[in-house]
Amino acid sequence: MQITIIKRAGMVLALAGAAFLTGCASPPKTLYGWDGYQPQVYQHFKGESPDQQIAEMEKSLQTISARGASVPPGFHAHLGMLYSITGKQDQMVTQFEDEKKLFPESAAYMDFLLAKVKKGEKI
């Protein structure tokens, strides 16, 4: 009887230890899927071809949604900008609207840019 209880106590401690290890050692789950966004922003800053970046980001979108992850802040807006650079205004508008839908915090800035487009100015 005593022995089983001691065994059980040992078990509890072992489980606690396991929980402790898992709690600290496992990489925390990220809020967003990060495929490609920051590397593509860097490519843009370096002046690389927007077509290549668009292809990479469209591929990333598929990877992110296939994994059931969320698209990070700025992703749709950045892709929209690349579409705009390559003259695809309609696709730009769709991406800016997506950014607003996912992140209402972006609304003021997205509306500012959409208003410029309406007036025929560059974003």
Partner: protein
Amino acid sequence: MMQRFLKLAACLAPLVLAVGCASNKPAAYDYTAFKAAKPRSILVLPPLNNSPEVNAGNSVYAQVTYPLAEAGYYVLPVGLVGETFKQNGMTVAADIHALPPAKLQEIFGADAGMYITIAKYGATYTVLDSVVVVSVEAKLVDLKTGTVLWTGSASASNNEGGNNGGGGLIGALVAAAVKQIINSTTDQSHPVAGVASVRLLSAGYNNGLLYGPRSDKYGTQ
């Protein structure tokens, strides 16, 4: 008696867990203004570059979104923000940093602005070794009031842990020279800048940023 011990163990286990994970957190930083402002969105301005490496600003700027977004903030799209400044004739980071916060708030609609300064970026050659170091500083400002909500700094290098293998003096010199060549390319510094950015802008560290509203840890600090 034993039952009691079991119950006690069960109760204490999570406590051990909490202490184990949450330790070394001396609350030295005064977060009063930060907590009162409750920023939801952050406009990161193009970093001010005090290093000789011309690409440092782009390298750091491209890597600020990850830590801030994972901390729970909406981060305005840095590529697009840079483009907006360019369209308005602003291409110098120092000029952009000097703009009135209220004006930035009006255009970008962000609650807070992150002002980053790059103190060091790139390879430093010493007699026996060459090391890539990136050091960055940041200031978070409430764009409505201009109040400083938080300041921080961080560093990273490709030589952490100091794992210098043997091989004698000549071996070390050769290794250092080879490393210098590799380190001279910008992209050797870029991943180091990524580490520095994560250290600077992640939430949950000592005196680091507070978690934002999109994190499930929001309001726990």
